[in-house]
Symmetry: C2
Subunit: 213 residues, 2 copies
């Protein structure tokens, strides 16, 4: 379900609780963006203007196989997973929890339809930035380009680290790696998804957990 921000804000005085959480959400977005590149207040307002508050119920899709990628969801609550169907099996390759930017980069960059799916694993909320509006933002100022570049540098570095982990560790150590580096995933995500994420069978992960007790 969509809310344009101004609609949302105009409805806010009714509920202090919601106002508070919306403030928090906006601050989280601001802080997160600033970790990559500092925007001016004016620029951040421009960013906010094209951000629509969106909620996704558990099992709802942000993106589905065969569809075009319509943009990015900055997650303020909940968690999403990205998976691909390979030989009738759902292979999860990314998770997006709070303060992450959920999207599928290949279809976002190329504007071809995607062969991947992004689904809400729990009830999820966040700011949705439309691809078309994002592209306009990129044209407006070097600041937004720089922000995009730095975010991508960070993501690529992370992805590279993850790949290294996969190729160099055996299954049990991969799980331990998650425990240490991404404990929030283990709490929120069904272990069958986690198993595919680290490239092992569901049953094997189940046994690894038993052994570790």
């Amino acid at each position: 379900m969509f809310f344009f921000l101004k609609q949302y804000l105009s409805a806010l005085h009714k509920t202090k609780v919601r106002l508070r959480s919306m403030d928090d959400a906006i601050n989280l977005l601001k802080t997160t963006l600033h970790n990559f590149h500092k925007l001016t207040d004016k620029e951040f307002k421009e960013f906010l203007k094209i951000s629509e508050y969106k909620t996704l119920a558990k099992k709802e899709f942000l993106l589905q196989n065969g569809q075009y990628n319509h943009g990015i969801l900055f997650v303020t609550k909940g968690i999403l997973g990205l998976y691909e169907l390979i030989n009738t099996k759902e292979i999860y390759t990314s998770f997006f929890s709070v303060s992450n930017f959920a999207t599928e980069i290949s279809s976002l960059a190329s504007q071809n339809t995607s062969n991947k799916n992004i689904v809400a694993i729990s009830n999820t909320e966040g700011f949705f930035i439309k691809r078309t509006e994002l592209l306009q933002l990129y044209d407006k100022s070097i600041s937004f380009e720089r922000l995009g570049r730095k975010l991508l540098e960070h993501l690529l570095s992370e992805q590279h680290t993850f790949t290294t982990m996969l190729t160099s560790l055996k299954p049990e150590d991969r799980y331990k790696y998650l425990l240490e580096h991404n404990p929030e995933l283990i709490q929120q995500i069904p272990i069958q998804y986690l198993a595919s994420y680290i490239g092992i069978a569901r049953e094997t992960l189940s046994r690894i957990r038993r052994r570790m007790l």
Copy 2:
């Protein structure tokens, strides 16, 4: 060994062969950049100005564990490998062949020392772009930022595909994947490196190849 481009160019009239290959190298760079974002002639010249022609003998390092990352090598000849030492084993996680930009993104973005190594697997040549000069370029025009962003989008997408391949395929199919998608790697790279790249033991890869004859 380094050559500033102008020095190199001034020395060129002596050898037509080298002039030709230098022309080819420059065209390759131009074409490659334009695949991501079209630079104006003026912008491309600015890019060329900060590019130094560099040669690396086989086994020479572009980057070593503990060092700062000084920049990017656009490869015009040869091939390099990026590896990390994990439990006394060299895990190769990237290869850079002709028309690739060889660097290690984490240390390039953060300017911390790197814990990875980039080594020439065969005699290698290319244009080296210093990190400091690259940053100045980013400040000069939105065009360079956009180029950087688009290149990173492409790399992230590729890396994501590779991760998916790793988690979803069994060893034999991973090798077949390389055969199909990166045959140039199989020709140029010792199979012990390839084995670590796809997360299997050297001996296993040797047996896979025998089975496939």
